[in-house]
């Protein structure tokens, strides 16, 4: 039986010593008969050695003081959480900047109630996203129980969106208190540990549907919208451009069951 043809990938893997011994032997004998390929492989191997040699000294340098990990850990403990600072900023804007009437209208559902929803989501994000111990009440592994619980309390069929195509996994969720009654909060994270919070609850009768609206407070950004009487909002410490497609994905999935 003839062997598999040698590919360009095999030549690179040969240079990077990433081939299984058997395949390595096959490539080596191929190179004996093909001087052109052998020349390229030798050149790539030489590049590799030169790069490693040229950069080796950097890894041998003493690590500068500002990269001393103990100092970084120590410094971190003294700093307040960024999320809390963002919420403080949001409160200042609400109370100081907009005046009493606007604040009241925001809290009561205002123009279309989305501002209040957005604010509630930012509060929940600030409280639960930095939580190391128990960010969620019910974990993703019990998502059926989670859905049943929040649907029962919201008196609506609530779906938990799947954001895996956007690189975010469901961590779990919980019921949170808002000035408009209970809301369902779902938390997601990605491989880097970035967390997102989605909050949903029934809207007041006046705002059955509302188009997607961006909102931001400090470094917490998000989008809020209403669809058939349910309000939805997605918040995170990410740029709006990054959040928008994820919010669109949620809107698509959260349609009627």
């Amino acid at each position: 039986m003839s062997q598999r043809p040698i590919t360009e990938d095999d030549l690179h893997a040969f240079v990077d010593q990433a081939l299984a011994p058997e395949r390595r032997g096959e490539v080596a004998s191929y190179l004996k008969d093909h001087p052109d390929a052998a020349g390229r492989v030798a050149a790539f191997a030489s590049q590799r050695e030169q790069l490693r040699g040229a950069l080796a000294s950097i890894a041998d340098e003493p690590v500068p003081a500002e990269l001393n990990l103990s100092h970084i850990i120590e410094g971190r403990k003294r700093r307040p959480l960024r999320a809390w600072m963002a919420i403080a900023a949001l409160l200042l804007v609400s109370i100081g900047g907009l005046g009493g009437w606007t604040v009241r209208s925001l809290l009561q559902g205002g123009s279309n109630g989305l501002s209040a929803l957005a604010q509630e989501a930012a509060y929940s994000y600030g409280v639960y996203a930095p939580d190391r111990v128990r960010p969620v009440e019910i974990r993703a592994s019990d998502s059926a129980e989670l859905t049943q619980w929040v649907s029962g309390r919201l008196k609506r069929a609530v779906k938990v969106p799947d954001l895996s195509t956007s690189g975010y996994r469901l961590m779990g969720g919980r019921l949170v208190a808002t000035s408009h009654g209970p809301a369902a909060m779902f938390m997601y994270d990605d491989d880097q540990g970035d967390r997102l919070v989605m909050l949903t609850r029934p809207m007041n009768s006046g705002s059955q549907d509302a188009p997607m609206m961006p909102h931001a407070a400090g470094d917490i950004a998000g989008f809020a919208w209403a669809d058939r009487g349910m309000g939805y909002t997605l918040v995170g410490q990410l740029p709006g451009d990054t959040l928008r497609p994820i919010a669109n994905e949620i809107r698509k999935q959260a349609g009627p069951i």
Binding site: V15, D16, G53, A54, L67, I72, R132
Partner: protein
């Protein structure tokens, strides 16, 4: 936190090496590593099982990409033939100094995405699969970037490439 210190501290030299080779400028590179370590500290408990090294390199790489993009939108040109390169090679062993200097100058002419793959695979010893995961691209893309990086570097070394820096830089 002790656990983190034990696992992360030994990796700092290689994070510095990758950042410096990618960014070329020592201060920029170390600032990036510092940012990476701060994030690692704040997200230590949120990380998933798996290699701490790959996790740290992913954070660092994403920060570098953000920086490249910001520099691009601000219209600021990352300098190619500046003091950064001389600095990069200055501590290299004397007898290899000129060769090293040369290969780093040529590495700097590669597009960022090719440079990143070549460094992760050939210098930092990540497997093709790990590099793909780290860069969030398919393995096939890693292989084609690696191939293009090596061919291009070889052309540069043989003096075939025109070496038109401005034109090469604009090819993203």
């Amino acid at each position: 936190m002790k656990d983190m210190l034990v696992q992360v501290e030994p990796l700092i030299p290689s994070l510095r090496r990758y950042a410096r080779a990618l960014m070329r400028d020592r201060t920029t590179a170390d600032d990036l590593v510092q940012d990476c370590l701060e994030r690692a500290v704040s997200r230590w408990h949120q990380r998933r099982d798996g290699s701490v090294r790959a996790w740290l390199f992913t954070i660092l790489h994403n920060l570098a990409i953000t920086q490249f993009r910001q520099a691009a939108t601000r219209g600021r040109h990352m300098p190619i033939d500046d003091a950064g390169e001389r600095e990069l090679a200055s501590a290299a062993a004397q007898e290899h100094r000129l060769i090293y200097q040369d290969v780093l100058n040529k590495l700097a002419r590669l597009p960022e995405e090719q440079r990143a793959v070549l460094l992760l695979v050939a210098v930092e010893d990540f497997s093709y699969a790990d590099a793909a995961k780290l860069l969030d691209v398919p393995v096939g893309t890693v292989m084609s970037r690696l191939s293009r990086a090596r061919e291009r570097l070889q052309q540069e070394m043989e003096g075939v490439a025109p070496g038109n820096v401005v034109e090469l830089r604009s090819m993203k």
